[in-house]
């Protein structure tokens, strides 16, 4: 079978060399416009994400021979394996044993990281529009964005890109209809109920509120990525002058 439902998790083949483990909090997708309802969708919850982090931690502490890569996300973990050595069923069987032990996994004490951000103007070209959409002042939007301690749900998309949540509800906006071809490195964006920092100049569809002078991913440092899965993050507003000072430091 391609899918099966467990108590805690659901398995789904992703390719001939990978499978996805979904941590549920399953919700039936609402019917829209008479279309067929989509199958079970996972909802982003901290609990599901903690289970992702627990399984990731366990797989890092006790690697499974033949498992080659792991891609954690909000409420799922993609497990890539050596398809010459293993079949999906075997990987699933091993993972089920790991899942039984999730409760005993201790997650490391979260690191607390402060990221300075210069908001608005050329640093955050979408701040004005976001404020307009919500009928609030820029000062209020900045205050809201910097008011929350965010959780790093996972790193994905590109090296060192941390998906942070959850954004205060008052700030939630859809992503840009047409993504930018190039978002400058360090840009701080929002999309839906998530926020994040672009580590590299890449294409991107998130609305940009500001920019940090911090390097999010370096090839030369030991940690590589400034943020790790499970970290807690706060954004601190800084002035244009402070940005320049920190950037040249």
């Amino acid at each position: 079978m391609e899918t099966s439902r467990g108590e805690v998790a659901r398995f789904q083949y992703s390719s001939d060399q990978s499978l996805l483990v979904y941590f549920n909090e399953q919700v039936e997708q609402k019917k829209t416009g008479g279309a067929k309802a989509l199958p079970l969708q996972s909802r982003i919850t901290l609990r599901a994400n903690e289970n992702v982090r627990r399984l990731l931690r366990l797989l890092e502490l006790e690697p499974v021979p033949g498992v080659r890569n792991l891609h954690p996300a909000y409420c799922s973990l993609l497990v890539k394996f050596d398809a010459i050595r293993m079949r999906h069923e075997e990987v699933e069987g091993i993972l089920r044993k790991y899942l039984e032990r999730l409760k005993e996994v201790k997650l490391p004490e979260p690191r607390r990281v402060e990221i300075p951000v210069c908001y608005g103007a050329e640093f955050g070209p979408d701040l004005a529009e976001v404020c307009m959409l919500h009928g609030m002042t820029e000062a209020r939007a900045i205050e809201l964005h910097a008011s929350v301690e965010y959780v790093v749900y996972f790193l994905g998309f590109v090296p060192g890109f941390a998906y942070l949540g959850e954004l205060p509800e008052e700030l939630v906006v859809p992503r840009l209809a047409a993504p930018r071809k190039r978002v400058p490195a360090g840009s701080v964006g929002i999309a839906g109920n998530q926020t994040g920092v672009y580590p590299f100049a890449t294409p991107g569809g998130w609305r940009l509120l500001g920019c940090t002078p911090f390097k999010m991913f370096r090839a030369d440092s030991n940690g590589l990525s400034l943020l790790s899965i499970g970290d807690r993050v706060r954004f601190t507003p800084i002035s244009r002058e402070r940005f320049a000072t920190l950037e040249s430091a």
Binding site: S14, A35, R68, Y74, V158, T202, A219
Partner: protein, 331 residues
């Protein structure tokens, strides 16, 4: 120390090995050769470990000089290579003598040609691999495509040394000795890049209606110009958007066929994003990954659904062929 001098880089030439696997939790995709099968064979022809770094040239090759000489092999697409004006044969080792110039032109078949060198190309490893990751500017030679005037170091020994035994082993008969061997015609035929890509269902395959899947499997898609090592963009039968809006981002696998708004599929490739929020209708099977690496803009492709067991069998067969004694023929 032997070097390769880049007289002309070609359209897009990068240092690639078999990639860095295992850094998904950092958001780092493996990268590595777009046609790993060709790189592996190129290295095997030279007696290198199959994962040594080589140069991946795209569509239009460069011009290179070897001041101290080098033993080389070309694998993948035919870029009309000449050594001092004389045509060079693909899939068999050859020697470039001191100061001889190796020149490539536009492709005559496929998209990528690998220039492999005995000893491999030596660059500083980033996360266990010599592969260039263009988007992040990491790995390879200064994290970028080669430029005119670049100088690359040829390795002294096989860093990733594996025990190579049997007929495929290239005994070290001293530098400059060219092994008399070539890829067997049968192997070449079996590994011929395909235009009908075999796929297994993607994780959201069940979200698409039968009518939609029919469009996907019956359409001929054209490879778009904007395709690159991150993704192969297709133009053709439009896949209707799914009701229900954006899905929650999840890990994506190599070769995933994702359907963004607009309904033109994108195949995620070696420098793929590690996670994504578009539904995946299908996934190219591992045995056809090397075919993806040889797709050119404007090529026309189709998708063919296969069973999970077929995908496994085809991969096992390919690996068996790559490991077999009949892979190469001693001359």
């Amino acid at each position: 120390m032997s070097v390769i001098k880049v007289l002309e880089p070609g359209l897009f030439t990068t240092v690639q090995d078999l990639g860095r696997e295992g850094y998904g939790p950092l958001g780092v995709s493996p990268s590595g050769a777009a046609d790993a099968v060709s790189l592996r064979i190129g290295n095997r022809l030279l007696g290198n470990a199959e994962g040594e770094a080589g140069l991946e040239m795209t569509l239009l090759g460069g011009t290179f000089a070897f001041p101290e000489g080098a033993v080389l092999a070309l694998a993948g697409s035919d870029l009309g290579a000449t050594l001092e004006g004389k045509p060079v044969e693909m899939w068999t080792p050859f020697e470039a003598k001191s100061k001889q110039v190796l020149r490539f032109g536009p492709t005559r078949s496929g998209a990528r040609c690998y220039l492999c060198v005995r000893g491999g190309i030596e660059v500083q490893f980033f996360l266990d691999s010599a592969s260039t990751h263009i988007l992040s500017g990491l790995g390879g030679h200064k994290g970028r495509a080669l430029k005119k005037g670049d100088v690359l170091t040829i390795g002294l020994a096989n860093r990733n040394e594996q025990k190579i035994t049997g007929k495929n082993a290239c005994s070290t008969r001293g530098a400059g000795t060219v092994c008399k061997r070539r890829l067997s015609a049968r192997t070449l035929k079996e590994l011929q890049p395909r235009k009908v890509l075999r796929v297994t269902p993607g994780p959201q395959s069940g979200w698409f209606s039968e009518a939609t899947k029919k469009i996907f499997y019956e359409s001929t898609y054209r490879v778009a110009e904007e395709s690159n090592r991150m993704g192969i963009r297709l133009q053709g039968g439009v896949i209707p958007a799914l009701a229900g809006g954006e899905m929650i981002s999840e890990g994506v696998s190599l070769g995933a066929v994702q359907v963004p708004e607009g309904g033109q599929p994108i195949i995620l490739f070696v420098e793929q994003q590690t996670t994504g929020g578009y539904p995946k209708i299908a996934n190219v099977i591992s045995a056809d990954f090397h075919s993806l690496g040889q797709l050119r803009p404007r090529d026309e492709i189709r998708f063919e659904r296969v069973e999970w067991d077929t995908a496994r069998t085809l991969l096992a067969k390919q690996e068996k062929l790559l490991a077999s004694e009949e892979l190469m023929r001693e001359l």
